[in-house]
């Protein structure tokens, strides 16, 4: 390797040249990142409790997704982002035939669908098509539309990590509420239905 020999270093930096503000901003990036980190650490340290916000998606538009129809319910079509936010408030329920708790809340959804208070859409999460068909055939289908999320991709978009989960989506297509776990009549009467009333305003 060619040796460069000793160079004469400039002992002091030259008088600061005027630097464009855009260039200066670059040097602020580490500070900003650190401030964000310190804030996160501080929140974590001071609250010491899990955060109060139940979902990162609250008040955000529903994620982009497009699901094919569930086997045996092809004539109703699939379920996709465009079906939501058409000026109508809706519930989106994530369910699966292998999910015991889903069976528990199912009669409630059936009753709600019969009363016609609010349309319910279903995402059939990581299910085998035949099992889903049999399950819905036996217990009834409360869903205005259903999509089969066989590989769980849409579930990831919605931030689902266990079923059942139920979302309230407003007329503009924003997620306004997320309910995790079995839906009870109490949840429906005290939280979900009043929220829908509110949204209809």
């Amino acid at each position: 390797m060619a040796d460069e020999g000793t160079r004469t270093p400039a002992e002091d930096q030259a008088a600061a040249k005027p630097v464009s503000p855009a260039l200066r901003l670059r040097y602020l990036v580490p500070v900003f990142l650190f401030v964000a980190l310190a804030a996160a650490l501080g929140v974590q340290l001071l609250t010491g409790e899990p955060g109060k916000v139940p979902s990162a998606l609250i008040d955000k538009p529903v994620p982009a997704f497009s699901l094919p129809a569930v086997q045996g319910f092809e004539e109703a079509g699939g379920f996709e982002t465009a079906h939501l936010g058409q000026g109508e408030i809706a519930l989106v329920n994530v369910f699966a035939s292998w999910c015991g708790p889903c069976r528990v809340e199912h009669p409630l959804l059936m009753a709600l669908a019969e009363a016609g208070t609010v349309p319910i859409y279903g995402i059939n999460y990581k299910d085998t098509p035949a099992d889903a068909e049999r399950w819905l055939g036996r217990l009834g289908n409360p869903y205005a539309r259903m999509g089969a999320d066989v590989d769980g991709r849409a579930g990831i978009e919605w931030g689902v990590y266990g079923v059942p989960e139920t979302f309230v989506v407003d007329g503009a297509g924003r997620i306004r509420h997320r309910h995790v776990g079995v839906l009870t009549p109490q949840d429906l009467d005290e939280t979900i239905l009043p929220l829908i009333e509110d949204l209809r305003g």
Partner: protein, 662 residues
């Protein structure tokens, strides 16, 4: 009485630190040489007082003075003397004292050996160093005083966590802290340089030995910690991507990047603002590591103290130190003069690529470590990020780094023609292909292992090619080559050794990650298990008393083709004071593989659970790390890197100077 002396010494140290933090900057501002000169005696005094405090605490541990809370909580009279001694830092209070003591050691070293530094600059360096020390001393005195008394004193102590009663612990924290805290010097140099507006090649040369020293200690500390986890935890693994491990690994990545970028800053007067940023980030990550470990913000298998009040203090301190230094950087760095330019294909270009990959790799480790925390704070979801995350993010980033490691040193400074570089890569390429073919033929894969081994071969061959180039092997007579070899600067040797160490380390990790085997089953005396061609026979199992524990010890005969090669004695120890069990793995190494045996509990139907691991090439991991440390140590002895070098060098004849470059 001794404890009170220790406490008093800490208070005096605090006073000295205050002097050291305030007087020198004041002197620098007023142009008062006497005020600036105060920094050196203050640093020395601070070191002496903290040493006295540490000695007092050690004394309390060694004589089992249970009227001191820390001792009563963490020691026991029946403990072996070595563990009484090392128990001094096996707890939160003591480890903080060790932390600040090492900080004082570095401060005193800078004061003692920094004679050639310009006085104003040295004044600022020592003041910054003192400022950090001040924060920690206040922290210790206010929230973690190791000298608190307990009245009445208990008859005996609660004992040190048995897992920590191990020779590995005697040296792991001190070494790790020597590295962690040593980065404070690079930090102080960087902050002082930003304040003084003096970031240049001379600055880079001053920082380098300090960075090297802490890098060596950090490398050794991490390796020792990993070794300790390997034989003490009894899981057969050596690295768990645990938050505490990551907390020491991130500063290591930054220090490694800093070592490389400071070469460019020194030789080419380039990449200066980046080098300064790395110096700041390296120590910031050390502080953050301390924060994550001490505050219990992250759960981890290693944490041994957690207390939110301490966490709040450290967070405020972090904001002041890290936030302050980064703001200073944002303010001063844009004014830095750009240095020598270079092409992407050049030595500088390859070093920059190395830096980018190390920094980005560090960022992925950072994200993986902190993501659960952020997700919990924002979404209330509890997740864990485990080894699979790091294996699929950090590891792929290291592949181009290893590719670069062979190619970079073969490139000329400033601009290298592809025509000059590519032919030189022929030898490494052939070696890599040969290794790949050999590994594929012998083991049959998996392809990741073949690739990993080929990379190790590529790096090692690249190092040897570069050495051969330097001594013009086969182009000049062999005698001439030998003469050149002997005349190579230490720094050149250092690089070759350290890079060879990396190749060895890669061999170890690839072997351990791909070909490890494990058998777990219930064995009765006389039973045999075969694994990886070896035969493991449990001869018997019995009770063996230890100094402060009772062990269930199994005797396992390992034979290879009927011939006994080792008698392994795995133990399960019961420590009655804390009523805890520890597993002591028994390991036999053939240097090509470790045979690792662990005994578990007795089965209800008779027999004992035994787990046997065959860990190929694992010893290479620590050998590689040791070789890397050796490389760093050789570099430290390079004349040019010695702190006093610039002044002495003038006496050296000009010809010698020319060959001592690079």
């Amino acid at each position: 009485m001794i404890a009170e002396i220790g406490h008093y010494a800490l208070v005096l140290a605090l006073a000295m630190t205050l002097v050291q933090a305030v007087a020198p900057p004041l002197g620098a501002r007023l142009g008062d040489g006497a005020l600036m000169a105060l920094a050196r005696p203050a640093a020395a005094a601070q070191f002496l007082f903290i040493s006295a405090a540490l000695a007092c605490l050690m004394h309390a541990f060694v004589v089992s003075d249970f009227s001191v809370v820390t001792v009563a909580d963490n020691s026991h009279s029946a403990k072996p003397l070595l563990y009484k001694f090392t128990g001094t830092w096996g707890n939160h209070e003591g480890s903080m004292l060790l932390w600040v003591w090492i900080l004082a050691v570095y401060g005193a070293l800078v004061a003692a050996f920094g004679r050639n530094l310009p006085p104003r600059f040295r004044a600022w360096v020592l003041a910054v160093q003192a400022f950090v020390g001040l924060g920690f001393l206040v922290f210790i005195l206010a929230t973690s005083n190791p000298f608190l008394r307990l009245d009445p004193a208990p008859f005996d102590g609660r004992d040190l966590n048995p897992l920590l009663q191990d020779p590995g612990l005697a040296f792991h924290p001190p070494l790790l802290y020597l590295g962690y805290v040593g980065l404070s010097t690079a930090f102080s140099f960087a902050v002082a340089a930003l304040i003084e507006g003096r970031v240049n090649a001379a600055w880079a040369r001053w920082v380098r030995p300090w960075t090297l020293l802490s890098w060596c200690a950090l490398t050794a500390g991490i390796a020792l910690g990993s070794w300790w986890a390997y034989y003490e935890l009894g899981w057969g693994g050596y690295w768990f991507w645990d938050p505490v491990e990551n907390a020491s690994f991130m500063p290591w990545l930054m220090a490694t990047a800093l070592l490389h970028s400071s070469i460019v800053a020194e030789k080419r007067d380039s990449l200066k603002s980046w080098t300064v940023l790395l110096a700041i980030l390296g120590f910031s990550l050390s502080l953050l590591g301390t924060f994550l470990v001490r505050s219990g913000v992250l759960t981890s298998v290693h944490s041994f103290a957690s207390d939110p009040a301490r966490g709040v203090y450290i967070l405020v301190f972090l904001v002041v130190v890290i936030g302050g230094s980064l703001t200073l950087y944002a303010w001063r760095a844009p004014g830095m003069r750009a240095g020598g330019s270079f092409r992407p294909l050049s030595r500088e270009g390859s070093l920059l690529a190395n830096n980018l990959l190390l920094a980005v790799g560090c960022a992925t480790v950072f994200i993986g470590t902190l993501y659960p925390l952020v997700l919990d704070a924002l979404a209330g979801q509890k997740v864990s990020v485990g080894p699979p995350f790091f294996e699929s993010t950090f590891v792929p980033l290291m592949i181009p780094l290893l590719l670069m490691m062979a190619a970079g040193p073969l490139m000329a400074w400033k601009r290298a023609g592809p025509g000059a570089v590519l032919p030189r890569l022929a030898v490494p390429l052939v070696c890599a292909a040969a290794v790949a073919a050999a590994v594929a033929a012998r083991s049959g894969g998996p392809w990741g292992a073949v690739l990993g081994m080929a990379l190790a071969g590529w790096v090692a061959a690249g190092v040897l090619t570069e050495l051969a180039e330097r001594i013009r092997l086969f182009r000049v007579p062999l005698g001439e080559s030998a003469r050149r070899l002997a005349g190579l600067p230490r720094a050149a040797w250092a690089m070759s050794i350290a890079h060879l160490g990396v190749a060895v380390l890669v061999v170890g990790t690839v072997g351990a990650g791909n070909w490890a085997g494990e058998r777990e089953q219930v064995m009765r005396p006389g039973d045999s298990v075969a694994l990886a061609g070896y035969d493991f026979q449990l001869l018997d199992i019995g009770d063996v008393p230890g100094p402060n524990y009772l062990a269930r010890q199994g005797r396992v005969r390992v034979s290879d083709g009927g011939e006994e090669i080792a008698l392994l004695l795995p133990e399960r120890r019961h420590y009655p004071v804390q009523d805890t069990w520890t597993t002591e793995a028994a390991i036999h190494t053939t240097w090509l593989a470790d045979l690792y045996v662990v005994v578990g509990e007795d089965a209800p139907g008779g027999g004992t659970a035994v787990r046997i691991h065959h860990n190929p090439l694992v010893p290479w991991i620590w050998i590689g790390a040791l070789v890397m440390v050796a490389g760093g140590a050789v570099s430290l002895t390079d004349r040019r890197h010695r702190v006093g070098a610039p002044t002495r060098r003038r006496a050296v004849p000009a010809t010698a100077t020319a060959t001592a470059g690079d």
